[in-house]
């Protein structure tokens, strides 16, 4: 194919490197400032760390899941952006390291993110005792190591290697390499679907250790999904503007926009399903979650729905807003912000509660004062403060730096992919 000439390699420019390092430095500064002004158990620092670690690990997991799902379903259009998702998925091993820090924190009692990790509290609490066969530090440690390790070492890395091998060697007549790739993808789908639920229960939902909800894993995974799509759209538009993705056309952006639109609605559907069931049944153990959020975190509670449903739904409903770079980028930006807010409101109220319990346990009266003022706005807890935004930007810059490094290792067009021609001629309208 004559248009396939050129090597389509990607190299980070010096300016990009400087900007990314600048933001990483900002993130580090914000983390240090958070630690300095923090309470005795450093709850603000650790909850920010948890949010960002889970957020970017989730984005890379979803990238792997998208590749697996599209490969299994014979999808052709996405091949021109496949290398971006491959690069995202490689971040899983960084995610593993980020989670190792949290695991070390549980064993060494550096942090009090999880109420169930406090043995003294569990012993006298029938609810936590009942859940202790799942919510314990052994499950958390080995579950995280085995599951995250499986995602990366048995799927993300070998699949990337196969994809690069395909570039170098091409295919034999029976496409045996691609068949092997397909097997990996198909096996990953059920494994990824079930294990991601367990990970979300452990990492995020167990922050509210007393609470019950069966919708939560789906709801949080769909949040990851939308976050990954928003980041992908922004990345694709940026790289296209830089001229390194010449084969990505309006047609591909249109499809990515449709995914963003559809999965924003899917997330809202799951959010509402969880909310309505709990509202209807009106069982105290369940309603406490929303009661806290509606009364004490109203900006987060309603802002979440505005940023993650109202904006993408009404802006992306039209055909042309999905095809125009400006409107698509705008919505992806708003939704990325919304995704961060969503994880923020999942984690912070539970952590604040656990912190008060922990501090009361340690007899620090002064610090428990915050508990009685939870209804007033507290930067870093009831709304994200500047330090939270800075920390998030730092992690984001680190993620993008890692992704750029991965993208430098291989051409951005997988030239021997069997579906490449379909993707190049993609036409949706």
């Amino acid at each position: 194919m004559e248009m396939m000439s050129g090597d389509h390699s990607f190299t980070m420019t010096g300016r990009e490197r400087n900007v990314l390092f600048g933001f990483m430095g900002l993130g580090l500064l914000c983390i240090v400032l958070t630690l300095i002004g923090d309470d005795a158990v450093h709850s603000r620092f650790w909850s920010n760390y948890l949010i960002n670690a889970v957020f970017f690990t989730g984005v890379s997991f979803i990238a792997l899941f998208i590749i697996a799902a599209f490969t299994t379903t014979y999808t052709g259009w996405y091949i021109v952006v496949k290398r971006i998702w491959e690069a995202y998925a490689q971040f899983l091993w960084v995610g593993l390291i980020l989670m190792l820090v949290l695991i070390a924190g549980i064993w060494g009692h550096f942090h009090h993110l999880y109420h169930w990790a406090d043995e003294a509290a569990v012993a006298e609490d029938p609810v936590l005792l009942g859940k202790s066969s799942f919510l314990n530090k052994y499950w958390y440690t080995f579950g995280t190591l085995i599951i995250l390790g499986t995602w990366y070492f048995f799927f993300a890395r070998p699949m990337r290697k196969m994809s690069l091998k395909e570039d170098a060697e091409g295919h034999d007549t029976s496409f045996s390499l691609y068949r092997k790739y397909k097997k990996y993808a198909a096996i990953f789908l059920p494994i990824g679907a079930f294990t991601s639920a367990a990970m979300i229960w452990q990492w995020v939902m167990s922050v509210d250790a007393h609470w019950y909800s069966t919708m939560y894993a789906w709801y949080a995974t769909s949040s990851w999904f939308v976050a990954c799509l928003a980041l992908t759209i922004m990345m694709v538009i940026y790289l296209k503007g830089r001229g390194v993705l010449p084969f990505v056309t309006t047609e591909h952006l249109h499809d990515l926009g449709k995914y963003l639109f559809a999965f924003s609605i899917f997330w809202t559907y799951l959010w509402f399903s969880q909310y309505m069931l709990i509202w209807y049944a009106n069982v105290g153990e369940e309603t406490v979650y929303f009661h806290t959020r509606i009364n004490e975190y109203p900006v987060l509670f309603y802002g979440n729905l505005v940023l993650n449903f109202v904006v993408p739904f009404f802006v992306l409903m039209r055909n042309d807003t999905k095809r125009k770079t400006g409107s698509l980028f705008f919505v992806a930006f708003v939704v990325l912000l919304g995704r961060f807010l969503d994880f923020f409101q999942m984690v912070k109220p539970g952590v604040l509660h656990t912190t008060h319990e922990a501090l009361a346990h340690h007899g620090e009266e002064a610090a428990t004062e915050a508990a009685h003022h939870a209804s007033t706005f507290t930067a870093g807890f009831t709304i994200p403060g500047l330090l939270e935004i800075g920390t998030f930007l730092g992690f984001l810059a680190f993620f993008i730096f890692f992704v750029f490094k991965q993208m430098e290792k291989a051409p951005l067009v997988p030239k021997n992919d069997p579906y490449l021609a379909e993707s190049l001629h993609h036409h949706v309208q």
């Binding site: 509402f272 309505m276 509202w279 209807y280 055909n319």
Partner: protein, 173 residues
């Protein structure tokens, strides 16, 4: 719909690529195409035929909004004015309980409204039979049709010969 008949001169192509090129040629020669028939949607056809974007989705939005306000408004009126009942200790105006029904009626109104709009615009409905130029248009042939009334028949024949139409026919419909 209209009762008067018209004579149609049409050519059949075997391939959609040939069809697209033929339409481009017809545009270049300023021939007035009556319509094009294909067995399946052909990408790029709307561009070469200069068709404007369908406004059906606007109808969909309007009917959907109508369904939304009908459902939400009706339930609000029933449960706050007409017949207030307390269910499970919930307030009369229980918005979360209304949302699933509001959603269903939005979808129902949008779907039925779009079908009715589409049938009306296309002149379709019960008892209407539309003339078919050739049965194979629904199978494997691609057709360009011209009205013969104001056309130069020789020019059309030359056009079909040039663009590689497999067959050329005249039919009164």
């Amino acid at each position: 719909m209209s009762q008067h008949t018209k004579e149609v001169f049409y050519g059949l192509y075997n391939d959609e690529e040939d069809l697209i090129h033929a339409i481009e040629e017809a545009n270049a020669q300023h021939l007035d195409i009556m319509d094009v028939y294909t067995p399946f949607p052909v990408h790029g056809l709307e561009k070469v035929m200069h068709l404007e974007e369908s406004r059906l989705h606007i109808a969909g939005f309007v009917f959907g909004s109508l369904g939304f306000f009908t459902a939400f408004g009706f339930m609000t009126w029933v449960f706050t004015r007409d017949w207030p009942i307390i269910f499970g200790g919930k307030p009369y105006w229980s918005v979360p309980a209304f949302i699933p029904i509001t959603f269903e009626l939005t979808v129902l109104f949008a779907a039925i409204g779009m079908v009715v709009s589409f049938y009306t615009v296309c002149g379709l409905g019960p008892g209407v039979t539309n003339p078919v130029l050739d049965d194979r248009i629904t199978d494997d042939k691609f057709c360009i049709a011209f009205e013969t009334a104001n056309a130069d028949l020789n020019a059309l024949k030359a056009f079909f010969a040039k663009t590689g139409a497999g067959e050329v026919h005249t039919k009164t419909i």
